[in-house]
């Protein structure tokens, strides 16, 4: 009996090792000629290109999150145009939902099953680049006209001196205001000269219109805060990103300003007053004077707001500062088809057709700027003051380039929520955040 059992277990063990073998093999097998490709950003730029005859048909896989719903049609049209121009390349597009996009992408890369090229945001971009899973495309970029795609937006996707992604699309944050409510309260519309104080004054006037009215709605979160502290001359990290400066006096002052609006004057709604609605939901109800949000709200607001609205550059305090979100396109570090994949992402990033299609579809703004595309963008209303979108680019502060930004964001958010709920004073919340960040995140490595 015992012997037989032993045999059974040995068989099982053999099976187990067989499966283990299967699992281990692809990781080693997949990149025999470029084993260092996973390791370093700057690895093996030429090798895969040699194996690629321009005549030979290649199929590349592209994974993205932004071509959802109506935009799928646009990107399919672009794919047809691209394939007509490059008859030897076939593109396979896969669009994943944003909510679990990075989970899926990460799993595929870790499972040595990475797509040849993919879309990624500026935030996670740093983590991916730091792990060396992005291809160094610096040497392929000679064809890009910096009059079309600005040098600064190309540089934004540099990591350790190497270009590892191309800018794809961008958006900024602006102040949207409900014109009808400003008329009702008999006060002047916001403009680019406004400061925090003007917001408070106008907010109180609109709040006075009724119990369920609010002056302004602005999320108090990490993403919002790093820009708002800059409006007050502060920052969340020191200049070379080696130290947290979360509880500096400027930052405490900033958070106090944001919390006062919620807890004291209540010109901004509390979490409970908002309930299950999000910021847009509250604003679209028509009882809120102003909202600080991203330009991707335009399509939805144009469709669903039954009041007049317009935009202006976000007011600052000591300085003006605005937020800039960028999406990039990267080639996978382990792909064998880097050349073809790069052609496709360059087409998406810099092509005139793509830029035009984006604007026509009301998608996020293309990073490539063409005069006729811009003209069309400005013509599309509401909002009337579309120029504010471009004006706000002058005050962009960029998000800190640290690999642990998403964890930093969560830690800080927890404390910010405690402050806006009145559970902690702004000083206490930022002190606690600073202490927690210092213990959890090591900025020196």
């Amino acid at each position: 009996m015992k012997k037989r059992l032993l045999i059974v277990f040995m068989v099982l063990a053999m099976v187990a090792s067989m499966f283990a073998g299967c699992q281990a093999a692809p990781a080693g097998q997949d990149t025999p000629d470029a084993p260092s490709a996973d390791e370093q950003v700057s690895a093996a730029p030429e090798e895969p290109t040699e194996s690629e005859e321009s005549e030979e048909p290649v199929t590349i896989s592209f994974v993205n999150y932004s071509a959802i719903e109506g935009n799928a049609e646009t990107i399919d049209r672009m794919k047809e145009t691209f394939e007509a121009q490059n008859p030897n390349i076939t593109v396979e597009i896969e669009t994943l939902g944003y909510d679990d996009y990075y989970t899926q992408l990460q799993t595929r890369i870790a499972g040595s099953n990475a797509p040849d090229c993919f879309e990624l945001e500026f935030g996670p971009f740093v983590s991916f680049a730091d792990e060396g899973v992005l291809y160094d495309i610096s040497s392929m970029m000679s064809g890009i006209d910096t009059n079309v795609v600005s040098q600064s937006s190309l540089d934004a996707f540099k990591y350790n001196g190497a270009n590892v992604a191309l800018p794809y699309s961008y958006s900024t944050c602006i102040l949207v205001y409900n014109k009808d409510l400003f008329d009702e309260a008999g006060i002047a519309y916001p403009d680019d000269t406004w400061t925090w104080e003007d917001i408070n004054t106008a907010g109180e006037a609109i709040k006075a219109l009724g119990d369920d009215h609010y002056g302004i709605i602005q999320p108090v979160s990490t993403y919002e805060l790093f820009k708002v502290v800059a409006q007050n001359g502060g920052s969340l990290l020191n200049e070379d990103n080696t130290q947290f400066t979360v509880n500096s006096p400027e930052n405490v002052e900033t958070l106090t300003y944001l919390c006062d609006r919620i807890l004291n004057t209540n010109i901004a709604p509390t979490a409970q007053q908002m309930g299950s609605l999000d910021e847009w939901g509250v604003f679209m109800q028509g009882n809120t004077g102003m909202i600080v949000t991203g330009i991707w709200c335009f399509t939805r607001f144009a469709e669903e707001c039954d009041f007049a609205w317009d935009i202006c550059v976000e007011p600052g305090n000591k300085a003006k500062a605005t937020h800039y979100f960028a999406n990039g396109l990267a080639v996978s570090g382990s792909t064998q088809k880097a050349e073809a994949a790069y052609k496709w992402i360059e087409f998406l990033s810099t092509g005139h057709d793509m830029a035009m299609a984006r604007v026509e579809a009301g998608w996020e703004l293309p990073c490539a700027s063409y005069d006729d595309v811009l003209a069309l963008y400005l013509e599309t209303t509401p909002p009337d003051n579309k120029q504010a979108v471009f004006d706000s680019l002058e005050y962009v502060v960029s998000q800190p380039k640290i690999t642990e930004f998403s964890q930093m964001g969560d830690i800080l958010n927890t404390e910010l929520q405690a402050a806006t709920a009145g559970q902690k004073t702004p000083q206490q919340a930022l002190d606690d955040a600073q202490a927690e960040l210092e213990t959890v995140i090591d900025l020196t490595d």
Partner: protein, 303 residues
């Protein structure tokens, strides 16, 4: 006898292969991998080459992950939150599912319909359920606070209030699970021989006496089963937290699995997440072990 038995095993093995293979491939091997990973600083972003010496040279950190978990406050806080959840959830769940079972046990018109009705939440996906509950618990427009206002109670901010968010999650979880446990209890009730009740009736026992002296003891194996299952599930709550609160407000509903998910897929610390899941495993294992030992004192298998 001896021979026959082992022969049976060998004969059975080929037939078991598909499921054993699946178990090894998608459960056991990844589980062992995660144990190895819990000793590393692996990010989860790169291809995993767990058998190469290089991988271990670069990533091996010993027990640093475990040490970090135990020395930080985050883990203990999330345990505390789960403790709070359990204290509220288990009594409520047991009471409501026992209640349902007793109601459905009496032959009535339409009891099959009600059985289905109570079971529907079990079949509903957590995503849909959690979104419904987010709406039900809305402080201003929610159904629950509306009802409370009708009887003169000013309802709390539920999911937007750190003191009440976990209570909201408990309510949703009870709603979701009571049909399942109710059905199990119903099975248990149907198994109790009605003669016991008749005998008790003759001896002049009242309703409560019958419940505590007959129903409860004879149902104890089922209650035990429900307790073990719900305790294990309580430690693994995730979907409802993720969708209803995302761990907020101000971290008041952060729980272990939510932390594991965030560490693995948002913070890119797969090693740390693996260590956290092994600690969770240890907790669940020890608790089940204790319950297994303690059940002898009160579970009655004589029925």
């Amino acid at each position: 006898m001896k021979n026959k038995n082992s022969k049976g095993l060998l004969t059975a093995l080929p037939f078991l292969m598909p499921s054993i293979g699946g178990f090894l491939l998608i459960s056991l091997i990844p589980i062992l991998f995660s144990l190895a990973l819990s000793l590393t600083s692996y990010s989860g972003l790169k291809g995993l080459d767990i058998f190469s010496a290089e991988f271990w040279q670069q990533n091996f950190v010993g027990f640093e992950n475990y040490q970090k978990i135990f020395s930080g406050s985050e883990f203990w806080d999330s345990l505390l939150h789960i403790g709070y959840f359990i204290i509220l959830y288990i009594p409520l769940m047991l009471a409501s599912s026992l209640g349902i079972a007793t109601l459905l046990n009496k032959p009535r018109k339409g009891s099959v319909f009600f059985r289905v009705l109570f079971y529907i939440p079990v079949l509903t996906s957590w995503v849909a359920g959690a979104i419904i509950w987010r709406w039900v618990l809305d402080p201003q427009y929610g159904v629950l606070n509306d009802l409370l206002a009708k009887v003169g109670i000013q309802g709390p901010g539920w999911l937007q209030d750190g003191n009440w968010a976990m209570v909201g999650i408990v309510l949703a979880s009870v709603w979701k699970d009571m049909g399942f446990y109710g059905l199990i209890f119903l099975g248990g009730l149907k198994n109790i021989n009605p003669e016991y009740y008749e005998a008790a009736q003759m001896d002049g026992a009242g309703k409560t006496q019958k419940f505590f002296k007959i129903t409860m003891p004879l149902l104890s194996p089922i209650i035990y089963f429900a307790l073990v299952l719900s305790l294990i599930n309580a430690f693994m709550i995730f979907a409802q937290v993720m969708i209803m609160t995302g761990g907020g407000p101000y971290g008041s509903t952060e729980v272990i699995v939510e932390r594991i998910y965030n560490y693995a897929f948002h913070y890119h610390k797969m090693g740390y997440a693996s260590a956290l899941s092994w600690i969770l495993f240890a907790i669940v294992f020890v608790l089940t072990f204790i319950q297994q030992k303690a059940q002898k004192k009160w579970v009655n298998y004589d029925a």
